[in-house]
Symmetry: C2
Subunit: 165 residues, 2 copies
DNA sequence: CGCTTCTTTCAGAAATTTGTGAAGTTAAGG
DNA sequence: CCTTAACTTCACAAATTTCTGAAAGAAGCG
């Protein structure tokens, strides 16, 4: 207490959430730093933070921030913006954009499908193994189509519940 | 060549597929050994292999097989069966069961939801950050319901295309 | 029961990954 | 232009993960 400016919310509570949510992301396969940076952005009121702010809250070096942000922007979970008239950069989580990116493991699906197609033809479409792989392939193709439809339904649902926010 | 029994298929082609498919799984976050073991099982005609067979094809120790199989059974991607009257164990991929397990990241979703709920209440449902997290939470809840319905549609679709196999 | 075959556990060597400090790069502002 | 603030890249030390050999643990079969 008696610390500089009124923050309006308990930094410790924020940090606790950030770390616990990041831990879940890590467990699901995300690297530690991207996970922590992402969780921090998600729990910021503005939905965006500068490199320095991230470094301070998470106690990590500028290099670590840079690496994490590079990953997050590549996967479209975070976007970067320049503050006009400043060398300072802001990293932003786009509210609804990021989980769309999450479901957009489409690239991964595509590669799986490619590998499976190769498997079917190299092992022989008439062999038991080939048939099993053809079915697996069909499943992924099915999922791919369904996900698009699902996201459309989500947008409708979202509008009903949250408005056009 | 001039090797023991007729294998009926090119071991090198099989191995090539196994490694390339395993590589995709690794890239998507699976550990190397589970990925390789799984790919090997998937491309076997019987849909099952013994520990020794796996060790030989993948050139790994029994310990590595054991560890990989433990992971795969825990995640329900593979099941184990005892060959009757033998200490030998067979590991089997259940054709249609395994990708259902894949979509069953339900446990993960549940934990994310738990963490988000905590975030909403600890940061305050009325704060911008709290609202953002509430929306994210709603998304995951939505997805959870949709996935179940999607799998049901898949089973119908599958029956039409592949029969009751 | 004891022998044998298969599987699991465990400690540690080897490889990989991670995060840092420091140097390098870019661009704003005088 | 030169200075300086900010971000990025890079080499390396530290931490973590991964896989193995060896020993221990089950379970069929004589």
């Amino acid at each position: 207490m008696t610390e500089s400016k009124a923050v309006g919310r308990d930094p410790e509570a924020v940090s606790k959430f950030v770390e616990s949510f990041a831990a879940q992301l890590v467990e699901a396969g995300m690297q530690r730093m991207p996970a922590r940076v992402f969780a921090a952005l998600l729990s910021s009121d503005e939905g965006s933070m500068t490199s320095a702010e991230l470094g301070e809250q998470l106690q990590i070096s500028p290099a670590a921030v840079s690496g994490a942000v590079r990953y997050l922007t590549m996967t479209h979970m975070v976007s970067r913006e320049r503050e006009p008239g400043s060398r300072r950069e802001r990293y932003r989580v786009h509210g609804d954009q990021w989980y769309e990116a999450l479901t957009n493991r489409e690239a991964i699906l595509k590669r799986w499908e490619g590998a499976l197609r190769e498997g079917v033809s190299s092992l022989g479409a008439e062999t038991p193994a080939g048939r099993r792989m053809a079915e697996t392939l069909a499943f992924f193709e099915f999922v791919e189509g369904e996900v698009a439809a699902m996201m459309e339904r989500w947008r409708v649902h979202r509008r009903q519940v949250f408005g056009d926010g």
